[in-house]
Amino acid sequence: MKSVLEVEAPLLELEKKIEELKKVNQSGKVDLSREIEALEHKAAQLKRSIYENLTPWEKVLLARHPERPSTLDYIQAMFTDFMELHGDRAYADDAAIVGGFARLEGRPILVVGHQKGKDTRENLARNFGMANPEGFRKAGRLMKLAARYGLPIVTFIDTPGAYPGIEAEERGQYEAIATNIALMTSLPVPIVVTVIGEGGSGGALAIGVGDRVLMLEHSIYSVISPEGCASILWRDASKAQEAARALKLTAQDLLRMRVVDAVIGEPLGGVHRAPEQIYRKLSAALQDHIESLSELPKAELLERRYQKYRAMGEFIEAVPASR
């Protein structure tokens, strides 16, 4: 098990020790079952105290954990009959975004998500989940297709951000994002978005405008990366930890700010420790949301979506004195 958190180190040490003792115990020569039990109890306590008290920066690291399940993992685990569809019909097929038809407990849906790689080779092929304009345009094309046939749309967000490249700009990166955002505000089908890892700003929102937005417990969603924020505000990228705290980018923060509708609890240590648990939980949540959204007449679905985003933000407004 790969560790990304310094704070996890003592736990992993302990777990290693427990495994060693278990091996010795199996040999039958010595009875270590009481010692093992005591250590397992200690490990459980340590685990809870670590993962229930993660700092925002630790959540950033966990959200970016290389062993965290990807969009394709979720698709393969939760849906059946997945048929991937490719291309933006204008330029290319962007491997950083995956999309296609699928069935959720028999119900046909359209699924779209950012796709990272499991290793360096795959990450290079997927551009680390950073989409070019053709990726967003593929997503937009597929979402229009879904609306044409009344399919609910399910999206998965996991991206460091839209790709910052020369060709990306040449092909209108800003236009591709804006067009998708606008499109999603007006599609007459239920849209349920889940942030499964990193929600990187505009590149995330480009497939992230939903009637319901869910976040996994240790995922993050931010207008700028903590590193980017630190270098702009304090000219010091190493102040990323403070920036992470200041940006209020955790799932819990976003729930409190009413930008996110629900947080899906992760197994202790993160989803990669017991992904089956999350697949079951998320599948049930998606079904619930899709079902309740599908009951709404289209006009009401769209009006509620408009008002949901209309209400986001906080500011001061002087109220004119009456009379």
């Binding site: 804006a178 007006s186 505009g202 929102l205 480009a206 940006l247 986001m312 933000g313």
Partner: protein, 291 residues
């Protein structure tokens, strides 16, 4: 001799607010002259204003304040401001450093946040006009800018007025975190309603228009015009450079670059902007509500 200069100074136009520390043109000490930010040519201040703050040597379009832009585009005395009282709070509790920056910008610019909206006449035609101001926190969009842009569009929808939006922004206001990001969705949703109702929406991209503003309402105009050599785009040049580790091409991310790549309808010199907008609106009449 001194009398001549006294009289000249006395003639200085009083239409502007008290001397504003410019983001752009450097003012020479005696204040009669302005130095072009690009080529360094000194221009007599009054002439510079008459030239709409464009250098007549090198054509550099200096940044305008929102109020200057409104004065240039709206028929004299026709502008009526809407929702002027909106002000940014500190919803993420970023702290006193941020709040002090807001107060300093308010004092320095005389406006409450980075966007002014209202009704105006352009060549006699009533429009809903929104103008962003880079001098306020780099034109960054937080809840106030997002709500004002949205209200501009909602007013345009309700009153059936064509909407004209002049953009200038370095992107989202970081200190408002995810609220800033969500303004992209909010403003875009309002824009879509204009489209569905057949109400024209014209965007004027000015230097710079980038990131979260470019990737939302700025990119969604029925027609999009840009001032010459404005920096437009999604990612910042430095971020691109450090990602790809290559030198960026000449003219990258300028208005002309995007014209060439198919994303802008016209590049328009500032002296032609008002007439261009009038002509465009002349082609796009508001669909009558009953139709």
């Amino acid at each position: 001799m001194s009398g001549f200069f006294d009289r000249l100074r006395a003639q200085r136009p009083k239409t502007l607010a008290a001397p504003v520390k410019r983001a752009d043109a450097a003012e020479l000490p005696d204040n009669l002259w302005v130095k072009c930010n690009q080529c360094g040519t000194a221009v007599f201040r009054k002439v510079f204003e008459e030239q709409l703050r464009v250098c007549d040597r090198c054509d550099h379009h200096h940044k305008l304040t929102a109020r200057e832009r409104i004065e240039q585009l709206a028929d004299a005395g026709s502008f009526l401001e809407w929702h002027a009282s909106l002000m940014s709070g500190d919803p993420l509790h970023f702290g006193t450093e941020y709040v002090k920056k807001l107060e300093a910008d308010q004092k320095r610019t005389g406006i409450s946040d980075a966007c002014i909206i209202g009704q105006a006449a352009m060549g006699g035609v009533p429009v809903a006009l929104g103008v962003m101001d880079f001098h306020f926190r780099g034109g960054s969009m937080g809840s106030v800018v997002g709500d004002k842009v949205t209200r501009l569009m909602e007013e345009g929808l309700q009153r059936r007025l064509p909407v004209v939006m002049v953009t200038s922004s370095g992107g989202a206001r970081m200190q408002e975190g995810i609220y800033s990001l969500m303004q992209m969705a909010k403003t875009s949703a309002a824009r879509v309603r204009l489209e569905e109702a057949g109400v024209p929406y014209v965007v004027v991209l000015t230097d710079p228009t980038t990131a979260g503003v470019a990737a939302s309402f700025a990119a969604l105009g029925d027609v999009i015009v840009a001032e010459p050599k404005a920096i437009i785009g999604f990612s910042g040049a430095r971020v691109i450079e450090s990602t790809i580790r290559q030198k960026l091409p000449e003219g990258f991310q300028t208005s002309e670059f995007y014209l060439e790549h198919g994303f802008i309808d016209r590049v328009v010199h500032r002296r032609d902007l008002k007439t261009t907008l009038s002509r465009l609106l002349g082609f796009m009449s508001v669909t009558p509500a009953s139709a």
